[in-house]
């Protein structure tokens, strides 16, 4: 008698520790091998784009915190840059430097989480993650000093930042920046040549550069495939053109490269912060902006390089205090376009690691 086999459909998530939130996949297996995958979104959809249309420009800053809640500072920054572009607001130099410092610290914190959770997905249960949390905690302490918050900062304002830094901030920041390269070396020793990590990541989930560009991926996912595209260099905003740093790129586009690019970017971020501290000028941190901002009629697209990729805000103003259209170009959502291509042909355990290596935040995917 001939054996009859048929594909098995497994529902995965939305409540599952490896989905980093509430992400759902319908995965079709042939035996153990994935033959099809369909992502299902919307479990964290809060309608931020609609909500924003009935609130003033300033009231929308805290909403941007809730997009990618692991990198709130950079979300703030992308939004205020878009509004400043729309209404032509100048930013004092000290505020620009403070923004850069905060954004780069945020990048380090977000990449730490990405790498930690990636190893978690591989089965290195919580030990590496706790090492990563050790350093992230210090960054959160620094943020708490400047704005009183540890997760949703609401720190940036149109024309600057909400507060100047307190006196104890710079010494603490310097201490952290001096220590950080040592910590990164420690991760490298622990992880970079670990046999299990190499076996699980080398050559798995390869993303070819043509597909990476065609599918609008951005951030470390795009750069790991060997495409040298970083908005901080390609289209410098704020004062990024005054710092020396490199763009690390991968060669293969596999999980290991995505991991490696993030580790290297943390090194580059510490370099940028170091230069920013040295150049930090004195002066105002905020220009006078009307309490109820009414940008002139028109539109603007502001974009920055967040830890996850290119975050853009497309704002349309009709001259009223509320944005007419508030569109968010979310890097996490667009990076997921390639997920189906990456997981087909691999097993479920690999699919989890591939998914973890893309590093998404559901707050930004569903909005």
């Amino acid at each position: 008698m001939a054996l009859k086999t048929e594909p098995v459909l497994i529902n995965f998530g939305p409540q599952h520790p490896s989905t980093h939130g509430v992400f759902r996949m319908r995965v079709t297996f042939d035996g153990e091998v994935i033959v099809d995958m369909e992502p299902i979104f919307g479990y964290l959809h809060r309608g931020i784009e609609k909500l924003a249309e009935s609130r003033t420009y300033t009231q929308n800053i805290p909403y941007t915190d809730r997009l990618d809640y692991l990198a709130s500072m950079t979300n703030n920054m992308a939004y205020v840059l878009a509004v400043e572009k729309l209404s032509g607001i100048e930013v004092p130099e000290r505020a620009e430097y403070l923004r850069v410092i905060m954004a780069e610290l945020m990048r380090i914190a977000s990449h730490l989480m990405a790498v930690g959770f990636l190893l978690n997905d591989m089965g290195a249960f919580f030990t590496p993650l706790m090492y990563m949390f050790r350093e992230r905690e210090k960054i959160l302490d620094l943020f708490e000093m400047v704005c009183g918050q540890r997760l949703t900062y609401n720190y940036m304002r149109f024309g600057g930042v909400s507060h100047d830094i307190p006196d104890e901030f710079l010494p603490a920041l310097k201490r952290f920046i001096d220590e950080m390269p040592g910590f990164i070396d420690e991760y490298d020793q622990l992880l970079a040549e670990n046999e299990i990590l190499l076996a699980r990541t080398k050559g798995v989930g390869i993303l070819p550069p043509e597909l990476a560009i065609n599918a609008s991926t951005s951030g470390p996912v795009l750069r790991a495939s060997g495409v040298k595209w970083d908005i901080r260099k390609a289209d410098p905003y704020s004062v990024y053109d005054r710092f020396e740093f490199e763009i690390p790129t991968g060669k293969m586009g596999d999980i290991y490269d995505r991991y490696w690019v993030r580790i290297q970017e943390m090194r580059q971020s510490t370099r940028i912060v170091k230069q920013a501290i040295a150049q930090l000028p004195q002066g105002e941190v905020r220009t006078k902006v009307p309490a109820t901002l009414r940008p002139p009629k028109g539109e603007a697209y502001g974009r920055i390089e967040t830890p996850k990729g290119e975050l853009g805000f497309y704002l349309v103003s009709d001259g009223s205090p509320n944005p007419y259209r508030f569109k968010i170009r979310a890097p996490s959502l667009l990076n997921l376009t390639v997920l189906r291509d990456l997981v087909i042909g691999w097993k479920l355990a690999d699919a989890m690691v591939i998914f973890g290596s893309i590093d998404i935040c559901l707050g930004e995917v569903d909005r």
């Binding site: 495409v227 259209r325 997921l336």
Partner: protein, 161 residues
């Protein structure tokens, strides 16, 4: 710096290669008729090498929708904005249609599904045009300006007749 291309230059190049397409332009954007959208998009991708689709946004202007395509060329590091309008028509959501660009840029996949979900614009030629965030059977498209909202929050049940 990414150089934003002048609308006039791009419109001229489109006019040279696609003589049938009538375009308008302003300083930063090129306006393309919705029927010719796919042809223009293919020309931009294949001849002008705009290989990266940054974002697609839909804006509801009551009497018509405006679709805004932000394109970037990673090779030359320049960008262009393409806009197209589509009338709402009288029959409601079913009549709003636009050609899909998924076959040119895969990155349009989720973005077009999102616009279909929240704005109710159907993209012809999309391989898997389903709602992205809201569930099947949700009444209406929330990002439209005429979508009814209530002080207590959005409720799809109240929309049912």
């Amino acid at each position: 710096m990414t150089k934003p291309l002048c609308g006039e230059d791009v419109a001229r190049q489109i006019g040279e290669h696609l003589p049938d397409v009538v375009t308008e332009f302003d300083e930063s954007a090129v306006f393309v008729p919705s029927k010719a959208l796919f042809e223009v998009a293919r020309f931009l991708k294949e001849s002008l090498e705009f290989d990266y689709l940054t974002s697609i946004s839909a804006v509801d202007y009551f009497e018509h929708f405006e679709l805004v395509y932000h394109l970037t060329s990673i090779k030359y590091n320049h960008s262009v904005v393409i806009k197209t309008r589509c009338d709402k028509g009288e029959k409601g959501e079913k009549s709003v249609k636009l050609p899909s660009v998924v076959s040119l840029w895969r990155g349009a996949d989720f973005q077009e599904r999102e616009i279909y979900d929240l704005m109710g614009i159907a993209f012809e030629g999309h391989p898997n045009l389903k709602r992205l965030f809201l569930w099947e059977g949700f009444q209406g498209h929330p990002l439209r300006k005429d979508f009814r909202t209530f002080r207590t929050g959005l409720s799809s049940h109240l929309d049912k007749k």
